[in-house]
């Protein structure tokens, strides 16, 4: 007969490094094993959806930096796509390519953080993370060159981007693209067969493909479960219909597969950037749009493949200068839905690894 103990509650967070922000887990244990997990969130809730209803469509762009602050460019892009759909604003080809470049650079930077902190959670303290930070820094330098900001970029505009790339941008990007494959090989040598990571992540937090779909998870988490679904291919936006790349997928749907998918996606991002270097046309970078844009009454759902998954903006207009309703379909929040099921029966140490493999950004969970 298995021995049972008194249920014991372990509180993780909200102020805890492995919750990746202010996020709280309330774990009920029976001995070493988790029997119940409750997620407590809202510590970073800034009510963006309400605030956005009193600001003009253009004024809302900075909010989209501050939801997923590790991927501001993709936040900008998804929102601008939704409003462009709503107001039927055309985007010139050069702007489409600039957006593609920025989105892929952002994916590399974001995956660097995702992999680095995930490996921290596995117990390989800080060395890999700091290697990854080195590469992320180069991406942020490129962002700084293009728009003056590193984290909250506020670069995209409705109808294009806020300014053209400076002349020194492309040579710097070329250097980065030349260097990055070697760096990724370095990560692979260091991490893919690393004993710590395999012991901690393989077979942990398994999410089968049918469950993943039913749980509405997206991004590397869905692809880690073996579902080849990527909005860049399935519903191309910006210039993604003109570039070639593969969709890496996992086989087992465990934490290790999610990590491998992210690593492989970085390689694909570099591949897209290589093509963009040669294919980016010259021309206007913006369609002139009135600052107080008033789209016709209606609604639009713009969505992209952000580093974390399907990032969607559902924007409703009543014909006024501000959105009537502004909803963010946040991949970080929705990818958390299966977490209680994934951690049930595991230990606290596993729960930390599983949470790390989901790769949440609390700014986007709470909004």
């Amino acid at each position: 007969m298995a021995m049972r103990t008194e249920p014991f509650v372990v509180n993780v967070g909200p102020q805890h490094p492995s919750t990746h922000g202010v996020f709280r887990l309330r774990l009920t244990l029976d001995g070493e094993r988790i029997v119940d997990c409750q997620m407590v969130m809202g510590y970073l809730h800034r009510s963006m959806e309400k605030l956005a209803e009193e600001r003009s469509f253009t004024q809302n762009i900075p909010f989209t930096d501050r939801t997923d602050y590790l991927a501001a460019m993709t936040g900008n892009l998804a929102y601008c796509l939704a409003v462009e759909k709503l107001a039927s604003v055309p985007v010139p080809p050069r702007a489409q390519w600039i957006r593609t470049i920025m989105a892929e650079l952002q994916r590399i930077a974001s995956h660097c953080m995702a992999i680095g902190t995930f490996i921290n959670d596995c117990g390989a303290w800080h060395t890999p993370l700091l290697y990854m930070m080195r590469e992320r820094e180069k991406v942020l330098d490129l962002f700084e060159l293009a728009c003056g900001a590193r984290l909250t970029t506020n670069y995209m505009r409705i109808g294009g981007v806020s300014r053209d790339l400076p002349p020194e941008f492309m040579p710097r990007l070329r250097d980065f693209v030349k260097e990055m494959p070697q760096r990724i090989s370095e990560y692979e040598d260091l991490l893919v067969e690393n004993e710590i990571i395999i012991a901690r992540a393989r077979g942990v937090g398994v999410l089968p493909a049918d469950k993943a779909i039913s749980y509405s998870v997206s991004g590397p988490m869905l692809r880690g479960s073996g579902v080849a679904w990527d909005l860049r291919k399935a519903d191309p936006y910006a210039a993604y219909d003109q570039v070639e790349f593969d969709i890496p997928v996992g086989t087992n749907g465990d934490c290790y597969d999610r990590f491998l998918v992210r690593l492989a996606e970085m390689r694909q991002s570099v591949r897209i950037l290589e093509q963009a270097l040669d294919m980016i046309p010259s021309g206007p970078y913006q369609t002139q749009v009135p600052l107080a844009l008033q789209p016709p009454p209606g609604e639009a759902y713009g969505r992209i493949e952000s580093p974390r998954g399907e990032l969607g903006f559902y924007v409703v207009s009543d014909g006024g200068p501000a959105p009537f309703r502004f909803h963010i379909r946040s991949p970080s929040l929705i990818n958390l839905t299966p977490l209680p099921e994934l951690v049930r029966g595991m230990t606290v140490a596993d729960a930390i690894v599983i949470l790390g493999s989901v790769d949440i950004v609390v700014g986007e969970v709470d909004r």
């Binding site: 509405s216 609604e299 969505r303």
Partner: protein
């Protein structure tokens, strides 16, 4: 190529073949169904060969001043198509819609969010609690009558709760 945006008229036609009473309204952008038939319609659209909406992409609620709308964006991976489904509730005091968590597990947190911020009760949700705000928070902030709207379009609170002269936030 790209995702095919399934017309609401097409969806309405498909639904009424199976559930003739369910469709209330349809236009090229979306289809509206009766709240009472919602779960059955969703299960049908998920399992049907021609719609195959296995993935609940986005669930949210909109306050349309005289009624609430709950909007479902449904995605099929195999057929790569997207459909938009809506239900409307006219009861502003106690808006209630059946929960679709029995159809898509992914509705769980999204319905809790809509309950927390818009105050829609999802009948049959296994754990309908507030998601971001705390129990006891006065009202549901995404409703248009929570804070007074500019231009006096809707009445509501003049200031944020907790400020002098406004209801207590319940947080002490």
């Amino acid at each position: 190529m790209g995702t095919r945006y399934l017309s609401g008229l097409e969806l309405a036609h498909r639904i009424s073949q199976r559930l003739p009473e369910a469709v209330v309204d349809a236009n090229p952008e979306w289809v509206e169904v009766r709240p009472d038939d919602l779960v059955e319609v969703c299960r049908f659209l998920r399992d049907d060969e021609e719609t195959d909406f296995k993935f609940l992409s986005c669930l949210t609620a909109v306050d349309r001043l005289d009624h609430f709308e709950v909007v479902y964006h449904l995605q099929s991976f195999r057929l790569n198509q997207l459909g938009v489904l809506k239900v409307k509730v006219w009861d502003r005091e106690e808006p209630e819609v059946p929960s679709v968590t029995s159809v898509w597990l992914g509705a769980d947190l999204q319905e809790r969010e809509a309950y927390d911020l818009m105050g829609i009760r999802f009948r049959g949700h296994p754990d309908l609690r507030r998601l971001f705000l705390w129990e006891g928070f006065p009202g549901h902030p995404l409703r248009k009558d929570w804070l007074a709207m500019p231009g006096q379009r809707m009445p509501g609170l003049q200031r944020f709760p907790g400020e002098p002269g406004e209801p207590d936030t319940g947080r002490g």
